[in-house]
Each structure stands twice: as structure tokens, then as C-alpha cells.
Symmetry: C2
Subunit: 173 residues, 2 copies
């Protein structure tokens, strides 16, 4: 598939609405449901996406554009959302994500990288050279990855309730 900046931007702009439709008003036991120890609940995933917008994607894009491969990206703190997650309700987390994502899209539009910038390389702390186009594509794919995770987690909550249909639903395997 051809993934250009328009494709990425369109997915990034869809995600807050998807999460809102899927989660707003969900009872606490579902919002806090996980797939087992060490896995994230829907609440946690929303907080993580917000934290990643604030500290990971655009900050890394700016480092890449400013310093190229010379400056390694800062590692991303995968647990960095937990303090905020603990203080906000699910609906507040959704509002926070939507506002943060709107800011991100404005910042991305201001950056407006052209073909030369998109092909420019930075240095990932673990796997080395990556282009700006790869970084931005990963931002969009990361949204989809976590929408899938939330959906799978919610589906798991139906495991006992569906009885013998369990064997037919891929979401429960």
C-alpha cells in the first residue's frame, strides 16, 4: 500500500472519534478490564496514546529534522502515562486525548514536511536509521494497533457469556 502524509494524517484524525464511539460512558469494570497481569486496560491505552503524542512522535520528528542521524531519539517511557491515568476518569482521558491529538495535527500541519524531509533519516535508540516517513507511518499504525488491543480486550470480557460460541470467535483465542 502507498502510505503518504495524507494517509497518515487521515488515520490520526480518525482515531479520537473511533475511541469515543467505542468507549465513552463505558462502565468502570469494562474500562478497567485487562488481558491479564501486565497488560493494559482500555483506560490505560487511551492514556498511553495521549502520552505518546505528547512525548514521542512529534518530539522525535523534530529531533530528526533538526539533527538528522547525529542525535539518537530519547527512549520512550512506556509506563509514562500511568500517573495521569490514575487521576482522570475514562471520559476525561478521552477528552484529553482528543485535545492532544488536535494539537498534534495542528503541529504536523505547521511542520508540513515535503519529500526531502520525509526521506530524511534520524536514529532510533534500538534499531538505528529510520526515515521521517517511517516514523509518521508508525504513528498511524500504532493508533490502529492500540484500537485493535482495546477491541480484543473488550471482546475477552464476553468469553464466559458466549458459551460454546467461544470456539468461533477469533477475538477470544
Amino acid at each position: 500500500m502507498n502510505v503518504d502524509l495524507g494517509t497518515v494524517r487521515a488515520q490520526l484524525s480518525r482515531t479520537p472519534g473511533v475511541l469515543d464511539a467505542l468507549l465513552r460512558g463505558l462502565p468502570d469494570d469494562w474500562a478497567g478490564l485487562t488481558e491479564g497481569p501486565g497488560t493494559w486496560s482500555p483506560r490505560g491505552v487511551v492514556a498511553h496514546l495521549t502520552h505518546a503524542d505528547r512525548t514521542n512522535w512529534l518530539p522525535r520528528a523534530r529531533v530528526l529534522l533538526a539533527a538528522g542521524e547525529a542525535q539518537v531519539f530519547s527512549p520512550f517511557d512506556r509506563a509514562g502515562h500511568q500517573a495521569v491515568e490514575a487521576t482522570l476518569s475514562l471520559n476525561e482521558l478521552l477528552d484529553d486525548f482528543a485535545a492532544t491529538r488536535a494539537d498534534s495535527l495542528r503541529a504536523l500541519d505547521a511542520l508540513s514536511p515535503g519529500p526531502a524531509e520525509l526521506a530524511r533519516r534520524g536514529t532510533h535508540p534500538e534499531f538505528g536509521p529510520v526515515t521521517l516517513a517511517q516514523l509518521l507511518s508508525t504513528w498511524a499504525a500504532h493508533d490502529l494497533d492500540h484500537i485493535m488491543q482495546i477491541t480484543r480486550t473488550l471482546g475477552g470480557g464476553y468469553r464466559d457469556a458466549v458459551g460454546p460460541w467461544q470456539a468461533y470467535l477469533r477475538i477470544m483465542r
Copy 2:
């Protein structure tokens, strides 16, 4: 998790909005993207959900309530959506699903099964006795299963674009 009729109804009512946020206006190459031969595109999944609302879930619930275990449910035609899918645009498929689901919810509300009905058994053509509560829970979980499928399919479209990040995104495995 406790899955009651309210839980099922809430999920069923969320799904059209989720699919709309995820898919409306998506370019044809993304709407038609699959995970390989024999797998369904986002377009196909939306058509399948509509077809299942029309021919599977509530019709089976009615058979169960009318005849109990005496009448085996009709088998569901998993390819039954393909004729309609071929004639409608993605946005029309989304409209059709939203309208069909709204009809389904009205019909479910009219049915308004109480505890005795929810515990009543019917006969599934492959795995035998199932309760109405299990059937309705499966309807909701089936929505989530297919939202997950669409999300995974879209995520797969980013495989080449993300470069070395491929290894970090579960959606691409």
C-alpha cells in the same frame, strides 16, 4: 465479566459509530484491502455485519423463543453478503449497516427478553444447546471481533511503510 442485556445492547448501539469513525470516506484501495486470498476487506466486513443482523441474530432469537430446542437454527450463509457488497459504495454500506442496526435495536427492545427468556435454550446446528443470553452475547462479541479484524487489516496496509518498526507493532504479526 457480567454480561447482561444492557451490556449487549450498549455494544450493539456503539458499533455503527465505531465503523463510521474508522471507515467513512476511506479511499477504495484501503476499503478493499484484505489480509490475503479468502480474507475480507473492511467493505466486506461491513456488508457481513449487516447481513448477519438481517438473517442471523434476531431470526435465531425468534426461533429459540418460539420453538425452544425443538427447532434447529438455520445455518448462516457466511458468503451471503457478497451480492449486496458488490453493488454499494463503502459509504452506502455504512449507511445500510447503521439503518439495519437501528432496526435491530428496535426489534430487540420490542422483544425485551426477561430472565426466563434469556435462560431459554435453542439448538445450534453445529454445537447443540445454547441459551438466548449466549446468543445475544455472541452478537455483541461478534461486532468486536470484526472491528478487530478491520483494524488489523488496515494496520497491515502500513507494513512496508513503517520499515524497522514492523517488529514492534503487534498488528503486523
